[in-house]
């Protein structure tokens, strides 16, 4: 599977999904002018990757690291779509977890992660950045 790479800009995060090197991360600031346009291709990529793993019968674990400095409320909606998509991997027996990173003292970010975990049923691991 070809990697997915979107370099970060002032209003969009870096997205790197690189199965060969087992790097899956979304990081930076997320407030694109139109969230749909930015995140739909990310969901399509995940769909294709899941289909490929299923076709090959592979169940390799991976961790999706999410370290967002700032994001708008409509990006949150897409983070939930992504987390629900990850749950489809888990449902197929592929052990995927989400590493939710937040700066110490940023209670709002921690709380959002916990809400996402509850709603998506995916296992989250919390990493505090000092």
């Amino acid at each position: 599977m070809e990697q997915l790479l979107c370099e970060a800009s002032a209003d969009t995060p870096k997205v790197l999904f690189d199965p060969a090197n087992k790097i899956f991360e979304i990081s930076g600031e997320s407030r694109p002018e139109n969230v749909k346009v930015f995140y739909e291709p990310v969901l399509v990529w995940l769909d294709n990757y899941l289909a490929e793993l299923k076709a090959q019968g592979k169940k390799e674990a991976f961790v999706l690291k999410m370290y967002l400095e700032y994001f708008n409320s409509s990006s949150a909606k897409y983070f939930l779509y992504i987390a629900k998509k990850i749950f489809e991997f888990v449902s197929c027996g592929i052990p995927v977890t989400i590493e939710w990173c937040y700066i110490e003292d940023d209670e709002d970010m921690k709380e959002t992660g916990m809400e996402m975990e509850k709603m998506s049923k995916v296992q989250f691991k919390y990493t505090v950045i000092l």
Binding site: D11, E33, K36, Y70, A76
Partner: protein
């Protein structure tokens, strides 16, 4: 009461205006001795306010909307123990009812009620063609922990000026 203005904008609003004003706010806030969590909370609420202006400003009839009466406005100021964000933009009179109902609903909810409403919209709500999820007002109320003060001022037969005021206490969290 001592007041310190961090950003104050009035004018025509474009997507680039968001980046410009956010940059200013982040820089000014970084100089103040406040906790990172509070700083991030203020910036996040500001992002929602700026995007609301960008996405929901609407003019109804043919005419000159380039005068000061129709300028979008946003300010962030620090008082003794809180931060105040004021945002205003022109909307269609026909949108007032829906907007008013939403803010009144949000203002009447406690924290648990807001969380439930947020979950409902994030799970079942649709994303509009402009890329809005309808979560902005709920998110602002959850983060600020205080009622959103709002006002509509009629401007002409089609438009009104919509203003909100959000207070973020320094002692929140």
């Amino acid at each position: 009461m001592e007041k310190h203005i961090l950003i104050d904008f009035s004018g025509k609003f474009q997507f680039e205006t968001i980046e410009f004003l956010l940059g200013q706010a982040k820089e000014k806030l970084s100089i103040l001795e406040i906790k990172i969590g509070l700083r991030k909370k203020i910036v996040n609420i500001l992002i929602e306010c700026l995007e609301n202006i960008y996405k929901y400003t609407k003019f109804g009839i043919e005419g000159d909307y380039s005068n000061i009466n129709f300028f979008s406005k946003i300010s962030l100021e620090k008082t003794n123990d809180s931060f105040i964000i004021k945002a205003g933009n022109t909307i269609l009179n026909s949108d007032i009812e829906k907007l008013k109902n939403k803010i009144e609903k949000v203002n009447a909810l406690n924290r648990e009620g807001l969380q439930k409403f947020y979950q409902e919209i994030i799970n079942d709500g649709k994303i509009s063609d402009k890329g809005s999820a309808g979560l902005g007002i709920i998110d602002i109320a959850m983060k600020s922990g205080k009622p959103i003060v709002f006002n509509f001022t009629p401007k002409n037969e089609k438009n009104s000026f919509y203003e909100i005021k959000i207070e973020i206490s320094e002692n929140i969290n």
